[in-house]
Amino acid sequence: MRALTYSPDLADIRFGCGLSPVLAPPRDAQALLDGVLGPDTMAGRFPIESFETFNTRVQGLRDARAALRKAGTQETRKARREVIRKISRAANNARADWAARTLLRWTHTETGFRERLVAFWADHFTTVGKSALLRYANSAFVESAIRPHVGGTFPEMLIAATTHPVMLDYLDQTASVGPNSPAAARRERLSGMNENLAREVMELHTLGVDGPYTQQDVREFAELLTGLTYRPDRGLAYLQGWAEPGAETVLGKTYGAEPRLAHIHEALTDLALHPSTADHIARKLAVHFVNDDPDPDLVAHLSARYRASGGDLPQVYAALLEHPAAWAPRLSKVKPPLDFMGSALRALGVAEAAVSGLDFPAFRLTFFVPMSLMGQPWKSPSGPDGWPEEEAAWITPQSLSARLRWAMAVPQTLCDGLPDPRDFVGQALGGFATEPVRFAASAAESRSEAIGLVLCSPAFQRR
């Protein structure tokens, strides 16, 4: 079962951010894996705000609103409204900086597998903040709750993601109060309990929709989660007065009678280590990296390693990389729009300043609008199940049209002179270049159209 068919080009295309004209692909599967465990140089070179920093924006907004309420004169009210508007606009515009740095990480990384895993797990734990500024906090969520854990264990990542303020906001946990809690008795909150987070943790994040849980499990798990909420001044908060008193039984195991955050961690760890979770995660990894309809043996191999290692992610990745099915030479998966753009910038060797120098309106026209047209508006999937995997979702007339337009128009604005299209075929596709692509690159009337054609070739859009 050694990776007999390992190929460096395939490693960068399938498991990394694509081929680069300046950065060599990993020598072997071990090097690919080591990249995930080594120092995170991209996070340091292209920093994205942590949630702790982002939270100071939320505090600033809260203070500004309090000041507005106290404002007496028309003039102070006007000035303070302006302050509020500025805070909101700054967070909105900062999204472009974070998106730019995400793309730059793809362009310049030597450990592309890490960026791919961050994207995979960020999608697994999809969050779209809902209230006020938190709707701009998705990048910060990924930076704080996902990225540090991609080389760790799944139980740790599950706890970090589930108890994160942006997740609590997204899945309505911030409004969930135990029906028999002291807070409910005082009628502090009338909204009652909300099962959303409990259900999605079981259905999407751990056991899977076919997993062995019942509505009763969801209900008791939701009761166990009451008390978990978010306070801008504290971040994650556990309010005992909101928690449902008494023990809760989830999947046959009973968690302590006294409400405590530790019981929530314990239940999450048990869910993470459940065999159904192993199967669910194994299948998702195989679907994401290898094939929409993955080899059952590959899935079984990943699941077995997950169980044996207690969800130790590097060991699970190693199982993926050592399986022959992972190295099937046919490129089967279609890159989603963001990955398409990231790998295009990488293939073109776009310089840092060309992307980071764009102001918000320019960045919007160059990236955000085309991303939406391609069907993947930045950080805005339609539900907690994240972006689709199946190729039919991405190969649509509109998406392909938008890819062609972007690929023909944008590279010339970001590159200091486009490469010779004939060289670019090899640069972008390596051993996966085909005759029709070579011909298209040499026969196109203009360099920009030739580059666009290479980037839109099926061989570049797949991995």
């Binding site: 085309p370 508006p377 190729e391 509109q398 337009r405 128009a409 196109a444 159209e449």
Partner: protein
């Protein structure tokens, strides 16, 4: 997500008809006589932001209206009076001929079951999900309707425009397209792209379909293309007219359901200016749909324009209105029985308001939508109430359709 390319069969049929080049595509497809699953066309327009129903359709006949909206009462124009004491906003005056012909109607004082928090996002999610409560399920009522219909193909339903249309989201096949994504490249580049895609049938089918969809009459082939310039133009221009033209064109073919959004209804300040512009766009959209679909297709079309909630009955301090509850729904098309303002008017006296601030909703927007879908598709009431809008009581048939 269910966005898909054309089915292989539909694609081959189209290729045979049009050839693979845009040049062969006629400017306007003839009205299709082929076997689409049903004949009536349904267009759903989501008015995002919360349209002020009291300003769009002014209840001049209500004794309390003049005190709540003195500016509007003073500006009453008898030429825009409709039935039952209601009058149109001046920006809707272009629709008077439709009213006269029974192709325009309204339902007043309606809402979704959403209450109290008045969030745009939740309100729109409820409106598009068509459910009793806010769930995490991401399935729209139009998609659930499609799931009940036999013979739905990739072109039966279209989500049009750049934003996501959750009302169409779900397992049934739905196509999507936005006119500002139209292909622009040289004829040679297009030929090379087609050659290159031949290696990959899925990409090749999508490209051929994109070529066919891109031909809006101005031609795909631009000698010199600049995406950013095109996009700037698209951002500035009149995308609603392009969308309406595209939808009309599809309705002449196999498409039976289309949904798109109009934005610009969140009129917290200077409503006089901002609402007028939005209603003007709605007018242009409806007139374009009517004009471009042609009398035969327009005669079989029902357009439903709905919003996530109405607005406060009183003006706020900045010449606008804030998020409210009960609102108005606009119906248009040759298939509707227009010329009427429907709905159970609750009155505007303080005691009749919802939470003393909003128009009291007396009807459910889903019931009107359900009756229209039922008339268009022939689906049973029981299917509408259990599967398309689970838990809805459609009430008495208001006879919305001819």
């Amino acid at each position: 997500m269910t966005r898909s390319t054309l089915s292989r069969r539909a694609f081959l049929a189209r290729s045979a008809l049009l050839g693979c080049s845009a040049a062969a595509s006629p400017l306007m497809t003839p009205v299709s006589l082929a076997a689409a699953p049903w004949d009536t066309r349904v267009v759903v327009i989501i008015l995002r932001g919360g349209m002020d129903g009291l300003d769009a359709l002014r209840p001049y006949g209500d004794p309390d209206f003049a005190a709540l909206r003195p500016g509007l009462a003073a500006a009453r124009d008898p030429a825009l009076d409709l039935a039952g004491g209601f009058g149109l906003h001046p920006a809707l005056s272009g629709l008077m001929p439709l009213w006269a012909q029974g192709e325009l109607g309204f339902v007043q004082a309606v809402s979704t079951p959403y209450r109290d928090k008045r969030s745009h996002f939740d309100g729109q999610d409820m409106l598009e999900a068509g459910t009793e409560t806010l769930g995490s399920g991401q399935e729209g009522w139009l998609n659930r309707m499609l799931q009940q219909m036999p013979g739905v193909e990739a072109e039966t339903a279209y989500a049009v425009g750049r934003g996501e249309m959750k009302v169409l989201l779900g397992p049934a096949d739905v196509a999507d397209w936005t006119p500002d994504a139209a292909l622009r490249m040289s004829p040679q580049a297009l030929q090379l792209a087609e050659l290159m895609m031949e290696e990959d049938p899925a990409f090749h089918a999508a490209l051929s379909e994109a070529v066919a969809l891109s031909d809006d009459g101005s031609g795909i082939m631009a000698a010199e293309q600049s995406m950013t310039r095109d996009m700037r133009a698209a951002l500035r221009g009149a995308p609603h007219v392009k969308i309406a033209e595209f939808v009309a064109e599809r309705l002449r073919g196999e498409t039976r359901v289309a949904a798109f959004s109009l934005i610009g209804w969140d009129t917290h300040r200077q409503q006089e200016r901002s609402l007028g512009a939005s209603l003007e766009r709605l007018t242009q959209t409806l007139l374009t749909l009517r004009e471009a679909s042609g009398p035969q297709v327009w005669g079989k079309t029902a357009v439903v324009a709905m919003t996530e909630f109405g607005r406060t009955v009183r003006m706020n301090g900045t010449g606008g209105t804030d998020h409210g509850t009960g609102g108005a729904m606009v119906l248009s098309g040759g298939a509707i029985r227009g010329g009427r303002v429907l709905g159970d008017w609750p009155g505007l006296a303080e005691a009749d308001l919802y939470e003393r601030r909003d128009l009291m909703p007396t009807g459910d927007v889903r019931a009107s939508a359900a009756w229209i879908l039922r008339a268009a598709t022939g689906l049973d009431r029981q299917v509408m109430e259990s599967l398309v809008f689970p838990g809805l009581d459609m009430g008495r048939d208001p006879g919305l359709m001819l």
